[in-house]
């Protein structure tokens, strides 16, 4: 209760000293008083009593609302933590030069779209679809780039994703990208569903010395790992064994896959050979990541004087209605009699 009150403030608190004036309707009434010889003459009546109290409350509301409105009430801006359905998703996007190519391995021409453009389009839809998802975007090529930290501002995330089809650079350094992608999750909220979405069209060897660090980080954060492998037509698949020697250098995709499988965290790899396959993979990810997530909401300071004026208006309308319904015992027949006397000449005139 105190917390709820603490959220409200007024701009001019001094005016609130006038609030006792709101009690005036309790001993004075806006209605015209009808003096009677004995108040006990009228039979007791529940409806009348209710209307009497309603009018009194309306007067209280009218005066109190006006004073409150003059004082300028507002609700403080605040950060509210709520729980919704969604996940923390760290998107790790490959920005190597090959992402500029189509799935066919060419430079895009005409209606063709590059792998980067396709993933941009589909990921953009993914970001807007659920209100309470939180996203972080990291790009990597030779070095990782922090694009957007973990946030629920989807507009910013979409803008970051719109930027991933900028021409890419250089090589693919998965290890450092993964490290930064993991660091995006932060430390709090272990019960939150977390997903690391790696979008790449190739892989690279992970240095065995770095592997240990990555394993430790995965074990600590325990994200669901999704690898969206944008496979160029003709290039080796994740599961293909190389013809010659089976070393990470010869088949980096396969060995990255094996490394991911060895991490002990939930892991799925999607091999996509075209935009439709990418879309299907993203729909699957969306369906899998459905868990309660606490999210924060910024509420701006809100002016409540309109509400107070509204209350006051409501009271005033009731009072005016009461005033219009007023009757007086003295005028009851007295006002009828003269008009009856006037009636005959009017009839003759007509």
């Amino acid at each position: 209760m105190n917390d709820a009150l603490a959220r409200f403030s007024v701009a001019t608190p001094l005016i609130l000293w006038l609030l006792p004036l709101a009690l005036l309707p309790l001993w004075r009434s806006a209605q015209r008083l009808v003096p009677v010889a004995s108040i006990a003459a009228g039979p007791a009546d529940g409806l009348s009593r209710a209307i009497g109290w309603t009018l009194r409350l309306a007067g209280l509301l009218a005066i109190g609302g006006l004073i409150l409105a003059l004082a300028g009430p507002y609700r403080n801006g605040e950060t509210v933590t709520r729980t919704g359905i969604g996940a923390q998703v760290s998107i790790l996007v490959d920005r190597s030069g090959s992402m500029n190519e189509t799935f066919a391995g060419r430079q895009p021409s005409g209606a063709e779209e590059s792998k980067a453009a396709a993933s941009r389009r589909l990921l953009g839809d993914f970001v807007g679809s659920r209100a309470h998802d939180q996203f972080a975007v990291t790009a990597f090529s030779t070095a990782p780039m922090l694009v957007v930290p973990m946030t629920d501002r989807h507009e910013a995330v979409r803008a970051a994703i719109r930027a991933i089809d900028r021409p890419g650079l250089d090589y693919t350094n998965v290890a450092r990208g993964l490290a930064m992608g993991l660091s995006q999750f932060g430390t709090q909220g272990a019960q939150v569903s977390r997903a690391l979405l790696l979008v790449s069209d190739g892989a690279a060897v992970i240095d065995p010395r770095v592997q240990g660090d990555l394993r430790a980080a995965f074990a600590k954060i325990r994200p669901n790992l999704y690898w969206l492998f944008l496979r160029t037509k003709g290039s080796p698949s994740i599961s293909d064994k190389p013809v010659g020697e089976d070393t990470p250098q010869a088949a980096p995709e396969r060995h990255l896959d094996l490394f991911f499988k060895s991490l002990g965290t939930p892991y799925r790899a999607f091999e996509a050979e075209g935009p439709e396959a990418v879309a299907a993979a993203i729909r699957q990810i969306e369906a899998l990541e459905r868990d309660p997530i606490p999210y924060t909401e910024q509420r701006p300071r809100r002016d409540l004087s309109g509400f107070a004026f509204g209350l006051s208006l409501f009271g005033l309308v009731l009072l005016v209605a009461g005033k219009l319904a007023e009757a007086d015992i003295r005028r009851a027949r007295g006002s009828v009699a003269p008009s009856a006397a006037e009636a005959p000449p009017r009839r003759m005139a007509a």
Binding site: P35, V36, I39, G42, A325
Partner: protein, 280 residues
Amino acid sequence: MEPDIVYRPRGRLPGTALGAHRGRDAGGLGTFRDQVPFLRMPDARRIDVRATLRDPFEGTHVRRFESRTAIEVWALVDLTASMRFRGAADRMDLVAALCGALAASATRIGDAFGLIGCDAEIRADVTLPASRRRGIGAAVAARLRDVRCRGAHADGMAQAGRHLVGRPKIVFVVSDFRWPEALIGQVFAGLARHDIVPVMLADPAEDADLPAWGLMELDDLEGAGRRTVFMRPALRRAWIARERARAETLSRIATAYGRPPFRLAGRFDADALTRHLIGT
């Protein structure tokens, strides 16, 4: 010129003051009453010759005549705040007209008129001792018109009986009788030896002319508070029935002490009061 109020006290009045009403005592003048033996009333001037001759035992008879006696007329006026009520007519104006007419009528036929005003106590500033002086009517009316009614209850009415001692009088109890039932009985009991004429002040605005619809904020003149009343036909019917029940209660109590109450509403009509007084 306001017609006189004609009243007739119940029974034969004791007393020697010469007046307009039938006395209990027999006297030498007036209406023939009976014949008595000469020895009971040795008045040689009123020997009834025919009756004396007709008597086989040769007794002498004397005619007796009814003496005419005066009576004191008192108005006992309730001056509580509720008498300030102003509906179709101003209640105190009605009272002033009634008492003025009573005073004029009483003094014209030689009766004395006295006035007692009461709220919680007897109001000395309003009270007038009985007086036979002619032309007192205008003074009484003026005094009542100027009087300020502020009392919250009418308990002084019960003390009025102690001020009205001696021979029976006619006492007009003028009030709206918005009293507790016990007080009504107490006041009438205190005046029981007199000829009580209750005059109930009413107003059409208090029953028949109540509005059928509307919102009224009632303010009790005697300071019992305020109340909002939402008038509607059902409530109006209940209200009128309640007023009628109250009038019947008063009528029941008053009739036990002699006369039913006279309802004074809207306009003072001396002839109506005369009819009421002669008819009851």
